[in-house]
């Protein structure tokens, strides 16, 4: 069983800038906030060094003028590391993680369709989940998007 406290200490030891940005709301749940510049470093470290071998999903959030992305990584012992990062909505470019998790492709397409994120490094393919006729610049899960009939 992996101890979340030990994980927190490891995180702080390796990435001093994370001190005070780690939350443990309940056993087996760790929330970390990382800037976009350091995100990949922490993410790869968690995957390779700490055996977080399963990506549950990527959650997108619309918070004022920033687009927040939460990468939920799971360890086989049941510990979940939620790495939170954000990009400005005016320039929502993020790097694709499919080279680490090929299964993440569909989650990233979902971010593109529903939040308007620009995922760099995502291969060409069908969009998901919106239809092909859906306007390219409308992203329904953004807070300022309202359905037409309402």
């Amino acid at each position: 069983m992996k101890k979340v406290e030990a994980l927190r200490d490891e995180l702080v030891k390796n990435f001093s800038f994370l001190d005070g940005k780690i939350g443990i709301p309940r056993p087996r749940r760790v929330f970390v906030e990382v800037g976009q510049d350091k995100f990949e470093e922490v993410f790869v470290w968690a995957k390779d060094k700490q055996d977080f071998s399963h990506l549950c999903t990527i959650t997108g959030l619309d918070e004022n003028d920033r687009l927040i992305l939460i990468y939920h990584l799971a360890h086989d012992s049941g510990v979940l590391l939620n790495i939170r990062t954000s990009v400005p909505k005016s320039d929502p470019r993020i790097k694709s993680i499919i080279k680490y998790f090929p299964g993440a492709e569909i989650y990233e397409r979902e971010l593109e369709d529903l939040f308007g994120a620009k995922v760099e490094g995502l291969p060409e393919g069908n969009r998901y989940p919106l239809t092909d006729e859906w306007p390219k610049d409308e992203h329904p899960l953004l807070k300022d998007w309202k359905p037409k009939s309402a």
Binding site: P25, R28, T57, G60, L114, R127, Y128, S149
Partner: protein, 410 residues
Amino acid sequence: MHDPKNKFRIPMGPQHPALKEPEGFSVALKGEKILGVEIRLGYNHRGIEKACEQRSYVQDVYLIERICGICSHTHSTCFVQAVEEIAGLIVPERAQYIRTIIGELERIHSHLLWLGVAGHEIGFDTLLMYSWRDREIVMDILAQVTGNRVNYGMNTIGGVRRDISKDQAADVLKAMDLLEERTKYYIEIATQETTIIKRLKGVGVLSHEDALRLDAVGPTGRASGVRRDVRADDPYAAYGKLNFDVITSNHNDVYGRTLVRVKELMESYKMIRQALKDIPDGPITVKAPRNIPAGEALSRYEAPRGEDVHYVLANGTDKPERVKVRAPTLANVQAVKHMLRDRFLADMPIVIAAIDPCFSCTDRMVSLNEEDHSHLLRWDELRAYSIKWHRDNMSIDFSGLNKKLMDRIK
């Protein structure tokens, strides 16, 4: 449609007899061999995540429940767990046990349903008829305990809505004995009937490494030797107090997935018996506040199809700020492409079915064209149209027959 190199590209879906829900698979074929598959998802996107943000938590429970008909308890439990975590509610132990029992009953009905669908996909309808007949036993039990066959409406924030009485518990146990006997029979069939084994073994291979790499979850992953089960790794409800084995298999193919599912059924019977024995007395619900304090929570649940993930962000009002749902099929659908490469067209239905796809869960929209109601015909209008067509074009008059039928309906 014809490539120069004898290549066929055939559409499987959005409407196709092999698919029980609309999803598009575009298959490139050379003869009977599959060269490549392109998947188009999203036909069932209903915008539930957006809709959740505009409804109160109580309303959301029922909306979330309707993400999927088969794993409705899965989604609602997963959601209320997240909300309860944010609100800091301690759910009574009895409610935890009841949730577990319903969850396992749901797994039983889902796996039996899958067994039937698998039978149908390989052209063995007899298996479909028998396993669905036996599934009725568990459906009746669910209807008796929860009041409905699907969309049980058992969960509410802070507990469950209905208790399991002594009589009902006895009925559940009786049904478990019956189902256990039947399941043993199906294990026998699946491991001994030549034509089934021929159609399942070596089909849809997903190696252990690929299963890990592509994040396969649930029975799909476990049949490739990936020992991941949220019930054991990250216990929720009363699973931490129950003894059960995580079933895995090293067959890596559809046959392995079948074995994992039928053996999981046996585990479920064991768990339900234990849960009904250990269930403590007490209240089944605590009062939940209407406004949930600000906070966030991630909840995981082992659905019959694999790991289901819900993320809820609360902002202190009675409506959630964000609800994110990741259904198990979305995690597994990537693996399908991989499994189908270089296989036969005939294997396609069973390989797709083997991940037990649930595209409604996956897509969560309705694209009903609101402006164009002019072409929608009601059933009786359609009948009238067809009678008129026959009278005008074929000189056959069915109106007398129709009147008789309508009278009988009334």
